[in-house]
């Protein structure tokens, strides 16, 4: 059986600049795959090729085993980061417009969205706008869902409810590809892919993604001073409450800097975050 979405050696060059460099990935039915990376890592360009919106310089983007066509793209549902709604149209007009474009019946509205069916999208709170964009992308019953940072700016309860809906689509066999740079979204995925500088640099679980990165927490009474001296020593530091987190530390150097400043501190190994992994990649 073919993967729903597949990239084989996918490459995109703009002049001398290689935005996407030999990326291979696949999304199967019923799984939620998270595509992670900093800005400029190549996530959006990869998505555009997979959606058939940009032609690869080399390699192949395949939708159910064949390059995407106008017809096969009907099997896709896509929610861009900007949501792709028309702010001067009402909720139900947006739905009708998207339905007509895909040649399907407009979906019925439920809950809070049903109460707002005649409201202009411009006047809708962000949480509801996100829900509407989701309904618009799903109403033609796609087999593949591509979501760009689906829950950014939404409060926690609304976010977990949106994820419930994404998961229930996956449970029905839809393959979902999510781009994000937030931990909380990454944790909702079955499998993660990490891009950096156009390349796929790690994949698997959260543990696989952060593999090779270390972080320690430096706990000192005078946290402000600890932060100051470690930062001045050129280490990648961050504050976490009153602890100073150091990414990929050179243990001897760290101890020497603390000792030289006469600072009493305890140093504990902590689980690195995906953000810390990305910071390490950027510094390398």
């Amino acid at each position: 059986m073919n993967a729903l979405i597949e990239a084989r050696g996918l490459t995109q060059r703009f002049g001398d600049f290689t935005a996407v460099d030999d990326v291979s990935l696949h999304v199967d039915a019923g799984e939620v795959v998270g595509l992670l990376g900093a800005n400029g890592a190549g996530k959006t360009t990869t998505i555009r090729m997979l959606l058939g919106l940009a032609r690869p310089t080399a390699g192949q983007a395949l939708l159910d085993g064949a390059p995407p066509t106008r017809k096969s793209r009907r099997r896709l549902g896509y929610v861009p980061q900007g949501l792709g709604l028309y702010s001067e149209l009402t909720v139900s007009e947006n739905l009708a417009f998207a339905a007509q474009a895909f040649g399907c019946e407009p979906a019925g509205l439920e809950g809070a969205l049903a109460d707002e069916s005649d409201t202009l999208v411009a006047a809708l709170p962000l949480g509801l706008r996100r829900q509407l964009a989701f309904v618009c992308a799903l109403q033609h019953g796609p087999d593949v869902l591509v979501l760009d940072e689906p829950t950014s700016g939404v409060e926690p309860l609304a976010r977990v409810r949106l994820w419930d809906r994404i998961r229930s689509q996956a449970d029905r066999g839809v393959g979902v590809l999510v781009t994000t740079h937030y931990m909380q979204e990454a944790r909702q995925c079955d499998r993660l892919l990490l891009m950096s500088d156009g390349r796929l640099v790690a994949q698997g679980s959260e543990a696989d993604i952060v593999d090779g990165t270390r972080a320690v927490a430096v706990h000192a009474q005078d946290w402000a001073r600890a932060f100051e001296i470690l930062s001045a020593a050129g280490m990648a530091v961050n504050l976490a409450g009153r602890d100073v987190r150091v990414i990929d530390p050179d243990e001897a150097h760290l101890q020497a800097v603390l000792a030289q400043a006469g600072l009493e501190a305890t140093v504990t190994e902590v689980a690195p975050t995906i953000e810390e992994r990305m910071t390490m990649l950027a510094r390398a």
Partner: protein
């Protein structure tokens, strides 16, 4: 520096409903909430941009407040240096050249001084917004969603700048929609529809969670459960039945519980 029992109306809606907050020197306070929760209104009240309907706002003189509005508050058609010159001039910053060098070096923006702000990346623009708000060495620094739209690498850099500022004794108040970010702050205030949903140090807030939250693969009440990684979490308002595994809670979980509780009581 504090706000007491602050209520702010915007038209017919209560943008803030009886909110209190202290912002001592050297502490990072994170104001958290989704779209429309009242974060910006609270920050604007601190800056003196909105009038309270009731309650008090006790902050230093305007000249001692640094404010970065959401969207970074810089001018796109001016270069980085021109932005610095304009803001520095309006605050009458002495030793502006030296101060600008120091801040732009810390923010790693020295190489971009002659670039138009409209051509900078989102992360660079937010770092510049931070520099502009810090030019006059304020006692209170207010940042409205500094990390929104900023990628993880720039976010870590922005946090370094904010942490350094707090470590040097400035009171910092910042808003964010991300609870994992708020976990790094010394104090957290979670707003929902203008109300104080939760507040305290991150540890206190997590410890204050009512009832019990368990980790499970088979939630009993779907409306009181949510997915977290490969498992579910379920909230039992009056305690969980025997044999359930207690979950290690994050601010995110506690915030979800607080919203669920609001829903149950209202």
């Amino acid at each position: 520096m504090s706000v007491q029992d602050l209520t702010v109306r915007r038209g017919h809606t209560l943008a803030l409903d009886d909110v209190s907050l202290e912002t001592p020197a050297g502490r990072i306070t994170a104001v958290v909430g989704g779209d429309g929760a009242g974060k910006t209104t609270l920050l604007e009240a601190l800056v003196g941009l909105v009038e309270p309907a009731s309650g008090t706002v006790d902050t230093p003189d305007r000249a001692q407040i640094g404010y970065m509005p959401s969207g970074a508050g810089s001018w796109y058609d001016l270069t980085v240096d021109e932005n610095i010159g304009f803001v520095g001039g309006s605050y009458g910053v002495r030793d502006l050249a030296q101060r600008a060098d120091e801040l732009l070096t810390r923010a790693d923006l020295m190489h971009a001084r002659d670039r138009l702000v409209g051509r900078l990346s989102g992360g660079m623009r937010q770092k510049l917004g931070f520099c502009l708000a810090m030019l006059h060495q304020p006692e209170l620094l207010i940042l409205d969603e500094p990390s929104t739209g900023v990628d993880p690498v720039s976010r870590v850099e922005l946090w370094r700048l904010i942490s350094e500022t707090a470590a040097a004794g400035t009171a910092v108040v910042m808003s964010t929609t991300y609870l994992d970010e708020a976990e790094r702050a010394g104090w957290v205030l979670v707003l929902e529809r203008g109300k104080n949903l939760l507040s305290g140090s991150p540890d206190e807030v997590v410890a204050s969670c009512p009832g019990e939250v368990v980790e499970t693969d088979a939630p009993v009440h779907t409306e009181l459960s949510w997915r977290s990684g490969e498992h579910y979490r379920e909230w039992w308002p009056d305690g969980a039945p025997d044999g359930q595994v207690p979950a290690v809670l994050t601010l995110e979980d506690v915030s979800i519980v607080a919203s669920l509780r609001e829903g149950l009581t209202s």
